[in-house]
């Protein structure tokens, strides 16, 4: 069980965000705000969620995509104020909650079956 005082700090100093529900195997697009000096722009990162880890305010998810033939993974905290939007593009059918086997697969082998009839 978490200490009450830690819970107090997390409840009061971290703003909880409402994110759409997704799990490992789903394809999502994360809109991430990037601040360069005074300018601000939004970068989109689309890929497959390969794991969700942690709990409470330190909960994070990892998104993997293939960019120019090279695998790229990014870890996002659920509660970061820098995420402006998350869109779930596809629901995937996978049997485990951490699909690291995807790292060893490329091309047609790396496809994930889509969940139909939602």
């Amino acid at each position: 069980m978490k200490n009450q005082l830690i819970q107090y700090v997390e409840d009061n100093f971290v703003e909880k965000k409402e994110n759409p529900k997704f799990k490992a195997g789903d394809t999502i697009t994360v809109s991430y705000r990037i601040i360069e000096g005074v300018k601000e722009r939004i970068q989109q990162f689309q890929g497959v969620v390969i794991q969700i880890t942690g709990s409470g305010v330190t909960k994070t998810f990892t998104v993997r995509k293939i960019s120019g033939g090279i695998g790229v993974e990014r870890i996002f905290p659920f509660n970061t104020p820098l995420i402006s939007n998350i869109i779930v593009n596809k629901r995937g059918v996978v049997r485990r909650s951490r699909i690291f086997y995807l790292r060893g697969l490329t091309g047609k082998k790396a496809r994930i079956k889509e969940k139909r009839g939602l």
Binding site: V9, E10, N12, V14, V57
Partner: protein
């Protein structure tokens, strides 16, 4: 200087103004009671003694009971002396000091007793790099300390040579930790970074101006 006695509660993370995740330690600090005031005239130096955390009356020896009675307070578990506490200001016996001695954003030093690691080798204890490779025919030297005291000279092992032994459990001070948040009602201080010792251990928070 100013300081407080407290407890390490545990770690979490919060987000700063630019949206970055900052690893933080939550500390419970004070309220502390002034149990003794030392002055230049009487003791040769300026200091105050602070007490923290309640202690059972039946577990307190008589001489200490008298000491606490003089300050008009209940027995405390931890006593710690702070020299030149907020120079110029006068503290009196029994005065309660809380987190308001600090302000958000300033830098403090936190000391505590680090986690005990037991008997450890030189690689973990002193950061030695071991000897040679892990393969190419070599065996059992990977985490060895190497030579201790060569052959013809000095032909002995110098005193203080770093070797394997009990690790951790030492008094460790981490300096310049920034205070991220202060909550007066709950006696909470949130500092950036980590603090020595296990959760629930006593720590000293101090600030030198």
């Amino acid at each position: 200087m100013s300081g407080l006695i407290g407890k390490k509660i545990g770690m979490t993370s919060i987000y700063d103004a630019s949206g970055k995740s900052v690893p933080c330690t939550v500390l419970e600090a004070g309220p502390c009671v002034v149990t003794q005031v030392k002055t230049v005239e009487k003791d040769g130096y300026d200091a105050i003694q602070l007490g923290y955390d309640e202690k059972k009356e039946k577990n307190t020896p008589k001489p200490l009971k008298g000491h606490f009675a003089k300050a008009g307070t209940t027995p405390k578990k931890v006593l710690k002396e702070f020299t030149r506490f907020e120079e110029g200001s006068k503290k009196s016996f029994g005065q309660v000091i809380d987190v308001t001695v600090f302000v958000e954003g300033e830098y403090v030093d936190v000391s505590g007793v680090s986690k005990g690691k037991g008997f450890q080798g030189v690689v973990k204890r002193h950061g030695f790099r071991g000897v040679g490779d892990s393969t190419h025919g070599q065996h059992n030297r990977l985490r060895a300390p190497g030579s201790l005291g060569a052959s013809s000279w000095p032909s002995r092992v110098f005193k203080g040579m770093r070797m394997a032994g009990r690790t951790g459990g030492d008094q460790v001070k981490i300096i310049n930790l920034q205070i991220m948040k202060i909550v007066k009602e709950k006696n909470i201080i949130v500092v950036k970074g980590s603090v020595p010792g296990p959760n629930g251990s006593y720590i000293i928070i101090e600030r030198w101006s």
